[in-house]
Symmetry: C4
């Protein structure tokens, strides 16, 4: 997946980091341009559905083994342009730019490190996600079961299954959040997405289309859970 040869031209307006020292860090600008378009398109759809209020949320795609494209901090995620997307390395450091990536960049690179098949990550921040995270923070997990739409999550072929979505405590210390996610995975528990308390959801997929399907499915299923809780009492 590496990009051994750096770009020679950069017609689409992206920075291309060329280091003359020992290590040559480069990525394919055409791949970046395609990823930036996919990220902006996803943002437009998610923003239109109210999943990215007040410049919240962040999105990324894996460019190659060493790089990812990610949204710059503080931008309106519903109206992203190519220059709202920057390149980071897999330690979350900016590459070829002085822009500041999303504060939660390390949660994205963690997903690329732990899930080799993941090529896109979407973090959104809907009212449903925030409310569900608050209500289930005490339990630490939301169990989704009995829904046909579980089949929208990759690897599921029947509604006779369940998916546990963990709700991790919120912290501004990214290392703590990363450790919480690692602990869940290291315990051998399946993970398709997770909530952070008072915050939103993270999910991922093989490509942006699958990741968008996952976001849509989790948003839908969490909304059903809230409705059922309202109606069953």
């Amino acid at each position: 997946m590496s990009s051994p040869h750096g770009p020679t031209t950069d017609e689409v307006g992206y920075s291309c980091a060329m280091q003359t020292a020992k290590i040559s860090i480069a990525y394919d600008p055409a791949r970046l341009a395609a990823c930036a378009r996919a990220i902006a398109d996803a943002g437009r759809k998610l923003g239109a559905h109210g999943l990215t209020p007040a410049t919240s949320s962040n999105f990324s795609m894996r460019l190659d083994q060493a790089h990812a494209a990610i949204t710059i901090s503080g931008r309106d995620k519903g109206t992203l342009a190519p220059d709202d997307i920057m390149v980071i390395d897999m330690d979350g450091r900016p590459v070829g730019t002085s822009a500041r990536p999303s504060a939660e960049t390390l949660l994205h690179t963690q997903i690329y490190a732990r899930f080799p098949e993941a090529n896109a990550v979407l973090h959104t921040h809907s009212r449903t996600q925030t409310v569900a995270s608050r209500l289930f923070a005490g339990a630490g997990v939301i169990r989704l079961e009995g829904y046909e739409l579980l089949k929208a999550i990759a690897g599921h072929t029947t509604h006779e299954a369940h998916i546990d979505v963990p709700v991790f405590p919120n912290t501004q210390n990214m290392a703590e959040l990363v450790a919480q996610v690692d602990a869940w995975i290291d315990a051998g528990k399946p993970l398709y997405g997770y909530l952070i308390d008072g915050h939103g959801i993270y999910t991922w997929g093989r490509d942006m289309a699958e990741t968008e399907r996952h976001i849509e499915a989790f948003e839908f299923l969490l909304g059903c859970e809230l409705d059922l809780r309202r109606l069953s009492t």
Copy 2:
């Protein structure tokens, strides 16, 4: 599921299966083109209203006595193009294509078999439909009565009526689902649409416009039932 003989002409971009063997299976490509447009237009509207999350839902139209046009499995139902729609015979087998139809194809062909006046079938998957199906799965039926909008369901001319919408248990075994629907009809009970537990609704009509009206009406009436349940307790 294979299609041994490919199309010979395809002016409108659709496959037209011509078999040289004993049985000649053919359909009118102009009718198919018109149905594909009607299906895509309906999908666009239903998708925009959130009734088709995460590539769920499936739609069909009767082409003639032996064929129907139906959405291919796994496509985004809000952005359907002509090549997202395929032809099946009335046993649910693909005709002139290697594409895979919606998993629930037999529920569509059942409707065409049991309701000769039905020429379009819409299956959607809204949050309201899913939540209502979960809440009323135990009762097995939702009775809708006292609503002026009952008049939107074909054959109803007054609000002083009721419509019973059955809620069938979900199963990935289509033959079981088909049998449940058959049992309801064979018992002589009127049927204008049905829910599947944890899933969505099926409804149909003489043409796509009437079927869209039925979907809109059921979505509205189920939403009112949930609201009244929330507010009356």
Copy 3:
């Protein structure tokens, strides 16, 4: 307000009733064209906000003392074209057309008869309106008070007021509905809009802009009432 001289040409595709007998019934086709545009525009907005599901709802405007323009029965109110609007006289009879007006035409002509300043009538059918009508049908009235938005209803300049919205029992007998509305007015009670049980709302105004403002305000205020009822218990 009468239109003594009939149209000589009819470029915009409307019928013009010319009677050679004693009474000449005619209306201004330019006024009709303008009203049809205003009705279609209002329908587009109301439809986009979900207030006209499943071909429900009907809209009209006063053309002159003897005529009104009204939506033809059964059309999709969110996508009205000029030929979805017809002319009626003030007894609700079609003029110059064989089209069938909305079933509730007499509720429109009643408003023009009882409120000389009213020149537009909107009847919509939102989920909020239907649910509110069901919940308050027993009480027969919904009292709206303490809201700043009461000032959006013509004649109100402070939130320190209240508006009583009656909820009349539903019936398919229009004469009964008309009698209920007459009885309320004849009792000297103010009337700015009314609900019909299991159905929607009627409101009116000096022109279409004011009437749209009234619909928006009532929809908003009824929604607040339902939310407060949910949250206060």
Copy 4:
């Protein structure tokens, strides 16, 4: 409130008040044009999200130390054009126009007086805002805490904070409302936005983008509070 001297030139369609008497009151018409565009754009977005029903809401921007641009009373805030925006002085008086500013103009000029860094003010009127104001009017304040989105409010860098949003009693007497806001500020309490009972919210920011972010964040957070109240009982 009269404007004795009209504009002499008006290239961008705005009035520019030039007084030949002792005090020269003038503002930059290019700044006004830019502000009018920003206000109209914000209104379009807020209107599309249902935050400005029935011609409610009002918006302004500071032009310079002595002037602000503000929406004219009674216009549809979702479809503002340049001539729906007028100039006022910092006492809320019209400048160079006979138009009537929003009834709550003094709440805007108060914000510019009390918060020198504020250059834009948005007052909206969503159902969520109105319902929250009614529910918390007795307490007089809504405490928002534990939300990641608190970081969207300028000056906040962690979710481990709280923001108190006061709910002031409604009155048609603007001087009373102004005095309530002054009392809160004079008591040394932080203020990022406030609700008026049965009405909407006021918030502000350094520019329109920040102010829009604040409105989005408060609308979201108030919505979460209502949902949690519904679900926690």
